[in-house]
Amino acid sequence: MGIKLKALTKSPWVYHLSTGSCNNCDIEILDCLTPRYDLERFGIVLVGSPRHADALLVTGNMTMKCIPRAKEVYEQMPKPGVVIAIGTCALGHGVFDGSYVMPKTVDEVIPVDIYIPGCPPKPEGIIAGVAKLLAMLKQKA
């Protein structure tokens, strides 16, 4: 797995999976790609299909309707891949705790590697989280 993990740290392509979020986390992710933060200079590109992705960015509470879909998307992602949970909703349920449509948290549905808290986390926070993850992967590889 070593070489594959190492390759992963070079230019991770990410796929954004929203599982019933309020959009704020999603906007902040897109914000990371626009001129002020410009994540693309690190080779991080948002791709349109999980099949091309090295990492999943999951935002939002797992709603019932999204659980099978999230599993499917996770299975489509080539392994090794990482899952990044972004926002309080994806970490627990945040303000929506106790809702009747959210039986599970994200990490009960798919394995999560790193959590980025905040509602929504600032773009700086997201970038810091991703950078930490890359450092961690480099150590492992």
């Binding site: 999603d26 590109v45 299909s49 929504p120």
Partner: protein, 395 residues
Amino acid sequence: MSEIIPIGPYHPLQEEPEFFRLHVEGERVIKMDIEIGYNHRGIEKLAESKSWDQVVFLVERICGICSTSHPAASINAMEDLGGIEAPERAQYIRTIVCELERIHSHLLWLGLAGHFIGYNTVWMWVWKYREIICDILDKMTGNRQSYAMFKVGGVRRDILDEDIPWFLKMLDKFKPALDLFKGAVMDDPVIHARTKGVGVLTTEQAKKYCVVGPTARPSGVAIDVRKDDPYFAYEWLDWDMVVLQEGDVFAKVACRILEMYESMKILEQCFKKMKPGIVDLHVKELPPGEGIGRAEAPRGEVYHYVRSDGSNFPVRYKVRAPSYMNIFSNEVAVLGEQVADAALILAAVDPCYCCTERIIAIDHDTNEEKKLSSSDLLRLSHEKTIRVKKELGIS
């Protein structure tokens, strides 16, 4: 032409994830079915288990982009219930936050509309200048989104007088950018060719489908809660409602750009007219009864209803968001249009058109279903822009 699209089937235009089924004959769309309900989070039920103060935080998270319109409607409803009148300074602060949000939301949409027709430069530029608005909000409220400013009987934070010159300076910095966007959209022949006469929603159709906000106003329906049922400080300010007649995608773009100018006008007046004073009445209790609140979100009218039995929690909470009416107007707007235009038309009402689901195109001759993902739709749209450019002799 770029084939890599840095945006997935999930994108930030989604208030409610929706599922569209387009029926096409060759290139033409002849019918469309819509299904929504993928982002159901049970908010109305949850609201019944939250205290009045917490409800405002909850409704803020209905939609991140309108993260101040829902609280606005919510406190309007609660103040209606309690017969409370917030202090004047608080009303101005509320108006300021609402209008900043409108600008940021319209910019967000403009950028994505640019992306849909294959102008990624527009996207990047617009989002670059959106940061100015985000900075203002950040300094004013402490967060770039989800501002948590509103509460029954006032606002949570005052605007410091020493910060106001800085806000005005930033707004001045933003003005040339707005002119730039206006010029870029109004003068570009390709944008004209791609959006004029496309996806027309006539006045009758707009009325029949009960559309609201910047989906209705470009179709000649003069409806705006800020004018019709003024709340906050809107009645003390001088501004115009933008109403256009054409109803096509171009009119929808133009309407949003012109509205940003109006918002700038409102903001400047607010900063000028604001007097020192208290900003919070510290309301402790709400009486039993009912209340309704309306607010004009960037996408149209938001409507909230509360019922109270005098306890700490609402007994019933009801929300109606603007996209709920607007997305169904797509049913008529895409009829007879090309599949390549579908992405743009569906996006023109500013909801999400492809989230959890993909669009299925049903070919009526063969009756087979072709699945088009969002990337396919974008590809079709981008290819059409290239075609149009060739026809116009622009490379």
